[in-house]
């Protein structure tokens, strides 16, 4: 029980402004250990901002974030979180393996070498092991970034558009592999199919406020018979709050 609460994630009245504009306005939600949520919303909804706030890279203008009961900027929160930003760019002057080993060393994980070997296999990166990141294709870079996000076996995974740039076979592989991990997941996306493949629940954001929250099945039930889920989502996102 106590172990479970360790990895709950709670957000209360979270607001964040950039200059005079609100990117997020009084957002509250709670995600329990092991639950998988999609942050769904149109461009500029505040999805990426939410994830950056959760990782502690951005500070809230007001409101509170608790990762396993503590502030995101604490060491404990850092060790249980793994983060993949949108357009992730690893260290350009390091090779694929060097990136993994460097971050492994910074995170003081045990068996840096073995973990790196395992991740290179896991994401089919072996042939690029010695390539400098600057030389990689965008999709390969994305795979490396995914590997870097999970190198320390985080309990909570924050993924911003994780399937961007990946070709369809790789998408399938990554989906299967992400689903095989027993972790709490928050995936930011504006693509409903990505949300439904990776998660069970949806937090729908638009213009910095939560429009709807619930399971994907409940979302489907909101529509008329045979109505594609995309069209339900589109209707909800554009309707007045």
């Amino acid at each position: 029980m106590a172990e479970q609460e360790l990895c709950d994630l709670e957000v209360r009245d979270l607001s964040r402004t950039f200059g005079n504009t609100y990117a997020l306005k009084k957002v509250s939600f709670k995600i329990l250990q092991g639950e998988k949520f999609a942050l769904l919303g149109p461009n500029g909804a505040g999805k990426s901002t939410t994830l950056k706030l959760l990782t502690g890279l951005l500070k809230p203008t007001s409101g509170e974030i608790k990762i396993g009961g503590v502030d995101p900027s604490t060491k404990k929160a850092r060790t249980i979180m793994g983060y993949l930003p949108e357009d992730a760019s690893p260290y350009q002057m390091l090779s694929v393996r060097e990136n993994l080993e460097y971050i492994g060393a910074l995170r003081e994980i045990e068996n840096v070498k073995e973990t790196t070997d395992h991740l290179l296999d896991f994401f089919d990166l072996n042939e690029y092991e010695r390539s400098k990141v600057g030389k990689l294709s965008r999709g390969t870079t994305q795979k490396l970034a995914l590997a870097l996000a999970i190198i320390h076996k985080p309990k909570i995974l924050l993924l911003d558009e994780p399937l961007n740039y990946l070709d369809i076979p790789t998408q399938e592989k990554v989906i299967t592999r992400l689903n095989s991990l027993d972790v709490t997941v928050i995936v930011s996306t504006h693509i409903m199919s990505v949300a439904s493949r990776l998660t069970k629940n949806v937090i729908m954001l638009a213009r910095g406020v939560i429009r709807w929250e619930g399971s994907i099945d409940a979302l489907r039930a909101l529509g008329e018979a045979e109505e594609p889920i995309e069209s339900i989502v589109a209707r909800m996102m554009t309707s007045a709050p």
């Binding site: 950039f18 890279l57 500070k59 690893p90 971050i103 995170r107 070498k113 600057g134």
Partner: protein, 476 residues
């Protein structure tokens, strides 16, 4: 020339306030400088050395790292415009001259007027020389852009020697304008500016292709073997990463990374440093025998030139850092402290052979060598790390896809921040120069620098908002 394009480039690169204030600054410099010069407020020999020294820096930077500066936005949008490549390149060239003009006004500002009082003709020659010097520097960047690495070193080496010859009283060098040989110096400078411009213009039509090619080449730099971070404590991981990120021309080269162990490569770097130190130790007494004063100057020149190289290197700040990785792995404050300490340690290690050489020089009679040791081991590293700190705090730029992702327009505020990052450099420069007159000042400066570094690394003030600010600026 393409008027619309040129105007667009100017407007997107420099804000009006910056252009206006640069002119304002020039006026203030002129008034202040000519007052100072006519009243003999300064010993003009300092200006002379400063003038030659900074010209060497600018020209060698142009020769070694020369390229037409383009940003990511340029590459994606400007270079794809349906405009003839030659026109495009010409405009980029002229805009680059403007940006060098701004930099040079800041760098040479105080020196220019110091030479005003010499003769009446200097009032006409000085502005011409200033423009010619800027054009020369800018043209060298274009010419160097198409040269091979070896040729760049040849060109850079030649330029350095050519300018240094001015200190020996050789009149046929651009450096002579600072040393009292105004007429010959100007003639040589103007002719070389014209010649280099002609050469640069001829190269311009190829320039963009080369730029793209160069980027591709830079990206394909695969190591034969990976360096390993296995079993390293976080601090040492940061240390090794930063040790090799130091790119002293010649001293460290990513290409020499053939062996897999860090220790082996550190041996290589240190071997290079030792060889240079030995050369220095052998060469200097030889110069000293020919000319006593030049020998002493050589002792001061070493920390000064290392200060130059290091400061320009560290002005880039955390251009290669990745906040989403390092700042989520370690407390950003701790990580940044590691970076500062790692760089400091790396510099001290690299300079150690030179310090040993200086001990030897001290025992063969060079009094100044003793304070040079303190300059080398404390003041220069502190200054570099301080520059890094300021550059990160005030002007964070991140390098993505090999091209800086910075806002293309330089505003007045940004320019002022840029100036701020020069403060440690100028402070240390003055301290090192004064050390040749009063050795005790070196010790005081060293203590102050060390205190400052400790204060900066442990003060809480900037850290509350640090990551937030960086992230908001797109540093992820």
């Amino acid at each position: 020339m393409h008027r619309k394009l040129f105007k667009f480039m100017l407007q997107t690169r420099f804000s009006k306030s910056l252009l206006v204030s640069t002119v304002g600054m020039l006026v203030i410099y002129c008034v202040f400088g000519s007052l100072a010069a006519t009243n003999n407020l300064f010993d003009s020999s300092i200006f002379q050395y400063y003038g030659v020294g900074i010209t060497i820096v600018m020209l060698s930077l142009a020769a070694f790292g020369g390229r037409i500066i383009i940003t990511k936005a340029d590459r994606d949008y400007l270079l794809t415009l349906p405009i003839e490549k030659k026109t495009l390149a010409l405009n980029l060239y002229i805009v680059q001259i403007v940006s060098f003009l701004i930099t040079n006004i800041m760098l040479y500002g105080l020196v220019i007027p110091a030479f005003l009082s010499a003769e009446a003709s200097s009032y006409i020659l000085l502005p011409i020389n200033f423009v010619a010097l800027t054009v020369l520097i800018c043209s060298i960047t274009v010419i160097a852009n198409v040269l091979s690495k070896k040729m760049k070193i040849v060109l850079g080496g030649f330029l350095i020697l050519w300018l240094l010859s001015a200190l020996e009283g050789f009149p046929f060098t651009p450096g002579a304008i600072f040393m009292g040989n105004m007429l010959y110096g100007s003639a040589v400078l103007i002719v070389s500016a014209l010649l280099s411009t002609v050469m640069a213009l001829r190269e311009l039509s190829n320039v963009e292709f080369r730029t793209a090619e160069k980027l591709a080449k830079m990206n394909s730099l695969d190591g034969k073997k990976n360096r390993t971070f296995d079993k390293l404590r976080p601090f040492w991981a940061v240390f090794f990463l930063n040790f090799f990120a130091l790119k002293f021309s010649g001293a460290a080269s990513a290409k020499s990374a053939k062996k897999s162990k860090w220790s082996v490569k550190i041996t290589w770097l240190m071997a290079g440093s030792c060889i240079l130190a030995v050369c220095y130790g052998l060469l200097l007494p030889y110069i000293g025998v020919m000319d006593n004063f030049m020998g002493d100057m050589g002792v001061v020149f070493l920390p000064v030139s290392l200060l130059y190289i290091v400061s320009f290197n560290f002005k880039r700040g955390l251009i290669n850092e990745r906040a989403w990785l390092s700042f989520t792995a370690l407390d950003p404050r701790v990580y940044f402290r590691y970076i500062l300490a790692a760089n400091m340690l790396a510099l001290i290690t690299l300079f150690l052979p030179f310090a040993v050489t200086n001990i030897y020089l001290f025992f063969i009679g060079y009094q100044l060598a003793l304070s040079a040791i303190i300059s080398l081991l404390i003041i220069v590293p502190c200054s570099a790390v301080c520059t890094l700190y300021l550059a990160t705090i005030v002007n964070p730029v991140q390098l993505k896809e090999g091209i800086p992702m910075k806002p293309t327009q330089t505003t007045l505020k940004q320019a002022l921040k840029q100036i701020l990052t020069f403060i440690p450099f100028f402070g240390s420069l003055i301290a090192i120069l004064i050390s040749s007159i009063s050795p005790i000042s070196v010790i005081i400066t060293a203590i102050i620098s060390l205190g400052l570094i400790l204060f900066l690394s442990y003060s809480h003030y900037p850290w509350k908002t640090f990551t937030d600010k960086l992230t908001e600026k797109g540093f992820v």
